[in-house]
Subunit: 343 residues, 2 copies
DNA sequence: CTGAAAGCGCTAACAC
DNA sequence: GTGTTAGCGCTTTCAG
């Protein structure tokens, strides 16, 4: 009913943001000149530059990055599809630092361990024409990315390889890590060493379990009741622990296959047990040094992994035809106490 | 020197991705028809739709989301400028979930506790015309955002308020949390309770220290040597602990002002000390239950905070003129053992 | 040093 | 149902 407040064109400011054309009109110069000022092109007369700048502040003008990118053809952004953003992930932290140092923006999203979600995120990133994508693969079939690779979208896998397509990959040397853990416990006198790990449906779960089996047979041992894999639930872990620790030949040492397994195991152990059972966990854990005993771990070189992933991505952006590379990075043993408990 | 391989237009495929025009040509239909098919517009004949679809797969066409957004005027993306991506941050996790559920993409970046970096990220997000921004403020002066707010960019602060401008904000009730911690220890018989916290240059550090002082004076106590604030370094924490625990009237209980302080304190305590000193930490800590004694904490309702931040953002996107709101969310006491040690 | 005009890839009036 | 056409806001030849 009510008309806008009197004063024809001083009413409620229209919500449309001013564009470069508006600035040009306000400054009384050509569009081209505004563009030059905005992009710090030195070939602009000081008087005009000043007029443009004051028009910019007067109108509250901000360049639209989307239009710029559309015209330029490049987004200056790389994507990271990780399993969990917002959770400790030193590799992602490294990726962010390096991307920033290279002048790239990072668009990060969580796949949340969900294959459909991963698919959605990756396709969306492709449609946004990101310069490249780093992904911690989840799904069992990434064939749908084949067209994207062919169209020249650089994609690098981190932590596990892709399935069904061949792409660059950076990951930890799982077998070496398990070997180091086993060897360490063996050197401390343990002859019955058990392994509890993640499901063998998952690539790293499979790799690590197999590596552990190889350690056992390499030492002429049978696998009997020493290797326990599956989903990580309190119930399954408890059963595995009972089998391993209470048989006729109880294990005196334990290798846990990833961070989540390690934590679940520790929650099942009472302090007295924890002080007698030697444990080496795969993956470092925040606050591992504050536990009693402090936790000995196989720590992935997460920073190196993240850095290498960005480097591979940049190399492929520069040269799309380079051969596909897989880089395996050795983890480190960090001794803190739990792995040095004698047999 | 060498000409491209013979066969004029079958040479190495040009890197340019096909556009809608290419698809239209290939399918022998108009651009508009392709657009309709891509956007699932039902008003397309089945024969044409089929032709378009096969042209799309033949050419390996993917729509360019940037052009689409430029034309549509909306990005469907919100930004989160947090202190540390890739570190445990349940609020960020909540933001991501809700954003996704609302069909919004989340662009996350780390300010890394760096004021200049924060400035850069926020301005960049504004230039990208994100639908809105959630920020964990770092800097001491956010006046540079005033023009953005005026231009209608929705910005919500999380965890601390902005300085120098007024914007929506969601944060924890710091005073209530400190009060709860103090009261809990007091109820367990402690009469000398010390506080060690972050620098009072930081908003939450200041709020919590002041709240603790209010608790002391409210109980008729002097502040003498009981409140220690400053940067979180091992050296400063050690000094603070010595002053608090070894004076003529040693404290029997301790409130630590944030997660980092708590961890640094725990690293300074030998197990014997830890078993006698009552501690309540502000902020929950992963694995707090595995420590000995398990750590009693004031846990922020991080999920609620994240959810509320997105809700405020969406409300402001919908109605830019709504009054500015600050929401304070009470934290919870989680008793695990360390806070229930008697005096 | 500056300005007019074309076009990045897409959507949406508006004809037919 | 389908095609024509004019932009979204920017950069950039190419003339002045």
């Amino acid at each position: 009913m009510n008309p806008p407040p009197s004063g024809a064109d001083t009413g409620p400011r229209p919500k449309r943001r001013p564009t470069m054309v508006d600035v040009a009109r306000e400054a009384g110069v050509a569009l081209r000149t505004v563009s030059r000022v905005v992009n710090d092109d030195p070939t602009v007369g000081e008087t005009n530059a000043a007029k443009v700048r004051s028009a910019i502040t007067a109108l509250n003008y901000r360049p639209d990055e989307r239009a710029r990118q559309l015209r330029l053809g490049a987004t200056g952004t790389i994507g990271a599809a990780v399993r969990r953003i917002a959770e400790t992930n030193p590799a992602l932290a490294a990726i962010e630092h390096i991307a920033r140092a290279s002048g790239l923006t990072l668009l990060a999203a969580s796949t949340d361990f969900d294959e459909a979600r991963e698919h959605e995120i990756l396709i969306s990133m492709c449609r946004q024409r990101l310069e490249g994508i780093i992904v911690e693969p989840i799904g069992e079939n990434h064939g749908y990315l084949q067209p994207e690779l062919e169209a020249g979208m650089p994609i690098v896998a981190m932590d596990r390889p892709m399935t069904g397509i061949s792409a660059d990959c950076v990951m930890t040397d799982n077998a070496a890590g398990i070997g180091t853990a086993f060897h360490h416990l063996h050197q401390h006198g343990h002859r019955r060493i058990a392994y509890i790990g993640d499901s063998e449906h998952i690539y790293s779960g499979r790799e690590r379990a197999n590596a552990f089996r190889a350690c056992l047979t390499g030492h002429g041992q049978a696998l009997d009741n020493l290797v326990h894999t599956g989903d990580i639930t309190a119930h399954r872990i408890r059963t595995a622990l009972e089998t391993a620790l209470h048989g006729p030949e109880p294990a005196t040492a334990l290798v846990t296959g990833n961070m989540e397994t390690t934590i679940t195991v520790l929650r099942q152990l009472d302090p007295e047990q924890a002080s007698r059972l030697a444990i080496v966990g795969f993956d470092d854990i925040p606050l591992a040094d504050l536990l009693q005993p402090a936790l000995t771990v196989i720590a992935q070189n997460t920073t190196t992994i993240g850095r290498t992933a960005v480097e591979h991505l940049q190399a492929r952006i520069t040269n799309p035809d380079r051969p596909i590379q897989t880089t395996i990075i050795a983890p480190n043993l960090i001794t803190r106490g739990s792995g040095e408990i004698p047999a």
